[in-house]
């Protein structure tokens, strides 16, 4: 398969990555190689295999509705790149 440049720029946009033209081409080739490799799976005959998203065999792995302890606020915010008092601070969001 051949990955097009605009597919790379679209994925980069979704991932919020600003890529130079040279990078777009480099990643296009690398991603293309990875996808071609994975594409080999298409050769396996799966006509007799049911579609599934999971192979673990577990179902309904749920818990009861019970509260457990939360992190202290200081710990919750410990890795925040920026904080303002007890909040995470981010660039201005205008809805």
């Amino acid at each position: 398969m051949t990955l097009a440049r605009d597919q790379v720029t679209h994925v980069a946009m979704l991932a919020r990555l600003g890529l130079s033209d040279e990078e777009v081409e480099r990643y296009r080739q690398q991603l293309d190689a990875i996808l071609s490799h994975v594409d080999r799976l298409q050769q396996v005959d799966t006509s007799q295999v049911g579609e599934t998203a999971q192979v673990g065999g577990l179902v309904n792995a749920w818990r009861e509705d019970v509260r457990s302890e939360c992190l202290p606020v200081e710990k919750a915010l410990a890795n925040a790149p920026k904080r303002r008092r007890d909040h995470f601070e981010v660039g201005a969001i205008q809805e």
Partner: protein, 495 residues
């Protein structure tokens, strides 16, 4: 393409165009803990970022585990909305970046939701409306964003509180079966009522535990295709939904009348302006790249599970209203009023069980009691008087021991303070003057003192009788039964 199209009114637009409206409702589930971790789901009033843990903060290496009760509440809601519950369902990741979404994806359901194909029926202006429910699925709520600074446009930063992140959120997607803002509003009222009745949601639009987005497009009457749809957000009351939809109908109708096309976009309702405004910032990311959530094994809900949830469903508002009409002879209007809130219906049934006639119970609850509950912000069940006190008060009236106006005064006085109405009536001698001889003596005295009124009445002026009744009521400090007094006066004057 008339020259007046730019100023067409709602009615004029509706003559030319048919609105097609579909609503998406998000309701937070009333669980104790969050959807995928044990943090408290009660985020309102908690200090910022105090209800968080590595799972809901989206830290690496953690494993979400679903809340069984959230699944059950979603199934309960779906069954109340006549949905099918497929045996197999699963969770998916919905990928997008926004600062209130710590993981960079929301755990939601894409192609295998918990339920499908339901409907809600209701009546608007005497017309039965049936709105299809496409699906009810389960997901997690996001955190909340606040904008620092007073003026949004000048804000340099925003702050994030993740207490709400991961709270179980149910999405109810409706079919585009609604044709008027009034239908949309009634659909929401009914939907909210059901969710509150079955105990899964608190129905608070202002705080956003029950929120609604609308999709709306216009088409020519008789067309079956769909026009370009606009998504409307930020409506936090039933009235706002109604107004926003009316605004959109007029806006889109005028554009179409001028031969323009409608942009497919998201618009936000701005209450202060009474208008919807384009939200360009929300346009970019409708490429969510859903894929199955690898950390959560799928759900497999057996018929027994579904049957057990179904068996636990309480009586729904419509069923309850029909039963109250059937069993107690209430009118459809009274029954609908009494079942708007489940507590009112419970109070009604308790009063009737305590021996109060149905019509009297309904009138007191919807009249004086509703007024006092509103004015004091205290429901009857939480008032000093309580159900028992109200029952005893209404029974005093029904037995003729006190009259209606005395009862109203007592209700007002005892509603918050509490007390036994029968005891108060005894202590203060408020009991109705029902001694026949005493009443006859008073009637005769009033007749003797008011020869002019008597002459007027006997001369054919009916109203003159009211002056005489008033005289007797005054003499008894309002404690006589006006009907009995009127009867006695007629009897005496007819002689």
């Amino acid at each position: 393409m008339t020259s007046t199209s730019a100023v067409s009114t709602l009615d004029q637009v509706m003559e030319r165009w048919e609105p097609v409206i579909g609503l998406e409702v998000h309701g937070q589930l009333l669980t104790r803990s969050k959807m995928f971790c044990g943090c408290s789901a009660d985020y309102i009033g908690s200090p910022p970022n105090s209800n968080t843990c590595p799972v809901c903060l989206g830290l690496p290496g953690v494993l979400p585990v679903m809340n069984r009760v959230a699944v059950e509440y979603t199934v309960r809601s779906a069954l109340a909305l006549n949905c099918e519950i497929p045996e197999h369902s699963k969770f998916d990741r919905k990928n997008y970046f926004y600062p209130d979404l710590p993981k960079g994806y929301q755990i939601s359901q894409w192609d295998m939701p918990l339920s499908l194909n339901g409907h809600l029926t209701f009546t608007v202006d005497g017309e039965e409306v049936r709105c299809g429910i496409t699906r009810v699925h389960l997901e997690e709520d996001t955190g909340t964003l606040q904008h620092a600074g007073d003026i949004l446009q000048q804000a340099r930063s925003s702050v994030v509180d993740l207490n709400r992140a991961g709270v179980p959120l149910m999405e109810i997607v409706g079919e585009p079966d609604l044709r008027t803002p009034a239908q949309a509003r009634e659909y929401l009222v009914r939907l909210r009522q059901i969710l509150v009745y079955i105990g899964v949601n608190d129905g608070n639009l202002e705080q956003g535990s029950f929120r609604c987005d609308a999709n709306i497009s216009l088409r020519k009457h008789g067309d079956t295709g769909l026009g370009v749809k606009v998504e409307v957000k930020n409506m936090n009351s039933f009235r706002a939904v109604h107004r926003a939809l009316e605004f959109e109908i007029v806006r889109q109708g005028r554009l179409l009348d001028q031969g323009q096309t409608i942009a497919q976009e998201t618009r936000g309702w701005v209450e202060a302006k009474g208008a919807t405004i384009s939200q360009r910032s929300k346009e970019y990311a409708h490429d969510y790249r859903y894929f199955p959530e690898p950390d959560l094994p799928p759900l497999r809900l057996s018929a027994e599970f579904v049957d057990r949830v179904r068996a636990g469903l309480p009586e729904l508002p419509q069923q309850l209203a029909e039963r109250l009409q059937r069993e107690h002879g209430l009118s459809a209007y009274d029954a609908a009023n009494l079942t708007a809130e489940r507590e009112d219906a419970r109070a009604f049934e308790a009063l009737v069980a305590a021996g109060v006639p149905a019509k009297a119970a309904a009138n007191w609850l919807m009249g004086e009691v509703a007024r006092l509950a509103r004015e004091t912000h205290t429901p009857l069940q939480g008032s000093g008087l309580g159900l028992e006190g109200l029952a005893s008060l209404v029974k005093l009236v029904e037995a003729g021991s006190i009259n209606g106006s005395t009862a109203k005064e007592l209700l007002e006085e005892l509603y918050l303070a509490g007390g036994d109405p029968a005891a108060v009536v005894r202590e203060r001698g408020l009991g109705q003057v029902s001694d026949q001889a005493e009443l006859e003596r008073l009637v005769d005295a009033v007749i003797a003192e008011n020869p002019a009124a008597v002459a007027d009445f006997q001369g054919g002026k009916e109203q003159a009788l009211q002056r005489l009744v008033g005289g007797v009521m005054k003499a008894t400090s309002g404690r006589a039964d006006a009907r009995v007094v009127t009867g006695l006066l007629r009897e005496r004057l007819a002689r």
